[in-house]
Symmetry: C2
DNA sequence: TCAGCTTACGTTCTGCGTAAACATT
DNA sequence: AATGTTTACGCAGAACGTAAGCTGA
């Protein structure tokens, strides 16, 4: 969700996530409410990350990497079983 | 979700997660369908993790730790701002 | 006026809880 | 019979998409 907004535009990010732009905006707003901090500053030419947004981006990448790692771990374990 | 089932019983885990036992069972089944692998073997005295369950457990802990780390990072960043 | 984010609103889907069923000893 | 997991089912809340609104250059 946030990781996608790293493209610089909320609207531009939609083609990566395959959801509509308002929905993505809602997700972002919800996350910001949840964290109690603004992740991006809105301006007329897309958005740019705040300080908090930057640290969050870093953590988000790590989390997603970890998830992907887990997914691949069970995947390769699956193949070993079926072979 | 999975991390809670590390208590050994699906039913016993409910008091940690504060959701009903059927709901937790559903989550577990859904995750197993999603991964295409059984995470636990069911027997008459609770459940015990399969091989896949064990590796998943390991990854799940890392992921949750990472999430917690992120949450605390923005938290401390918030406090710095307000002070 | 234009580009891009946000709000409104109705619909669809997901997740939970209660209740009932199934399985194993 | 008893313990523990799963299925059925109805409902509340969340998420999405379409459409309309808002804002700054």
């Amino acid at each position: 969700m946030l990781a996608i907004a790293e493209v610089g535009h909320v609207g531009r990010a939609t083609q990566r996530v395959h959801i509509s732009q308002p929905a993505l905006s809602q997700q972002l707003c919800k996350l910001e409410r949840e964290l109690g901090v603004a992740l991006f500053t809105r301006h007329h030419r897309g958005v740019s990350p705040t300080e908090a947004g930057l640290v969050m981006l870093d953590h988000a990448r790590k989390i997603l990497d970890q998830v992907e790692e887990a997914r691949q771990a069970i995947e390769s374990l699956n193949e070993a079983k079926t072979s």
